[in-house]
């Protein structure tokens, strides 16, 4: 249960900050601005490349996929390769699917209840209240790009996630990357590209796993 909960936090955090990416950061270092700007986001879709680095791997393990979001709470987080899998959240119902042969089948080990708990937390982030989530302490650093750093505030995350860094481009006002550090030698870097904001998404994207 705890693993599933953290797994979905892991997935959802990535998605949430993609959603929070295209915001107006000009001179803003307060979270109130994020809350205001997040209201403008109706849909987001993007391609991503994930690089998993850890001691046992000589070079990062590369995965590719696509992310979709439609306000207020629909998600599709899909990996095309090397392991095809999809997490879909739609109308309070969250499911994870994995490839089995040519078909996508529901992941039987996923704790639906755990996913629900996580999505309740995510709902808070969706409305830009990510500095109000007791699970993480959030800070913003302004530089060439804006960097938001989240550090777990709860003991339940100890030993699982050390910190999460989200880099936002000031120039294009979109998220560039998310880095999730589990330990010194173990981190996941996700780089986004072709980010499209408020472009219509077919509702079937959030209903059909095939």
């Amino acid at each position: 249960m705890r693993t599933h909960c953290n797994l979905y936090i892991f997935v959802c955090i990535i998605g949430i900050f993609l959603v929070l990416g295209p915001l107006n950061y000009a001179g803003a270092n307060d979270f109130e601005q994020l809350r205001k700007d997040s209201v403008k986001i109706k849909t987001i879709q993007a391609h991503f490349v994930q690089k998993k680095s850890m001691k046992i791997l000589s070079k990062p393990l590369i995965s590719e996929g696509r992310f979709y979001y439609a306000a207020p709470d629909s998600f599709r987080w899909e990996y095309f390769k090397p392991l095809r899998s999809i997490v879909i959240a739609y109308k309070n119902n969250t499911k994870r699917y994995i490839a089995s042969g040519e078909k996508m089948v529901e992941d039987k080990t996923g704790g639906a209840q755990a996913m629900k708990i996580v999505l309740n937390e995510v709902a808070g982030w969706m409305s830009g209240k990510f500095d109000q989530n007791p699970s993480f302490a959030a800070t913003i650093n302004e530089g060439a790009n804006t960097r938001i750093t989240l550090t777990p505030a709860e003991k339940s995350m100890t030993g699982m996630i050390e910190k999460i860094e989200i880099t936002l481009s000031k120039k294009t006002a979109t998220v560039q990357s998310v880095k999730i550090t589990e330990s010194a030698n173990n981190f996941t870097q996700i780089n986004f590209d072709n980010v499209e904001i408020n472009k219509a998404i077919n509702p079937s994207v959030f209903q059909d796993a095939q």
Binding site: M1, R2, T3, N6, L7, F10, V11, I14, Q50, K52, M54, I56, L57, S58, L61, S63, W77, Y79, P82, L83, R84, S85, I98, A99, S100, V105, D107, K108, T109, G110, G159, M160, I180, E182, N186, T188, I190
Partner: protein, 217 residues
């Protein structure tokens, strides 16, 4: 509905499989000519597989498995990662050591690490035990039988059409694991099926993502 009794019968038969009879080569020349199948690593390798878990024929979950295995030292380092990149399990093992660096539920049970390392050894390392018998099964399949120090039996078989397989039996001859290398040409580790005969039988289907020999590491 008709399939259910058949499924129960299949599970029952699988759980009752015992050591098959080996027909010894008829002449010393035949015995000398018989080469034991050896699907095992010859050098240190890093292998990355997708692993599909199945119970009663239904897919339960899928993960990514990373194995770093050195047959010369019998050192193994392994990790289980989700598609999302989260490390669920990480451990390393030498001939007499086992160190778990990370284990999140449900991979945190006392026996999980030990059993996983044993399975990896069974797939990638030649048996440590002595060869006890070699010959052919009644269908002509080549077989070599080893006995491990703990009394377990390991049969390594090869059939031209069926490919290579490894069966591990308890000292009493009860089948515990069946490893089937599904690829008869190319990289033998491309597709591996492991069937475990436990309180709850399960199978793992491993599909190779990448394999590379490891030098100076």
């Amino acid at each position: 509905m008709k399939g259910i009794p058949l499924l129960i019968l299949t599970i029952f038969l699988f759980s009752c499989q015992t050591l098959p009879l080996i027909n010894a080569p008829v002449s010393p020349a035949d015995e000398k000519a018989l080469t034991c199948p050896s699907p095992f690593l010859k050098e240190k390798y890093r292998l990355v597989h997708t692993i599909e878990t199945r119970m009663a024929g239904n897919t339960q979950s899928a993960i990514i498995g990373v194995t770093l295995a050195d047959p010369s030292t019998r050192f193994i380092s392994c990790a289980i990662i989700t598609a999302e990149g989260m490390v669920l399990f990480e451990a390393e093992s030498g001939p007499d050591t086992l160190k778990v660096n990370r284990a999140l539920p449900p991979f945190d049970s006392a026996d999980f690490a030990k059993n996983m390392i044993e399975d990896i050894k069974l797939i990638f390392f030649a048996p440590e035990g002595k060869i006890q018998k070699k010959g052919n099964l009644s269908d002509g399949t080549t077989i070599c039988r080893y006995q491990e120090e703990n009394g377990d039996w390991i049969d390594v078989t090869n059939d031209k059409s069926e490919g290579t397989a490894i069966n591990r039996y308890s000292s009493a001859g009860i089948l515990k694991r069946r490893i089937k290398f599904n690829k008869t040409a190319g990289n033998i580790y491309q597709s591996i099926e492991l069937q475990a005969n436990e309180a709850f039988n399960y199978s793992l289907l491993m599909t190779l993502i990448e394999a590379q020999p490891v030098k100076n590491e």
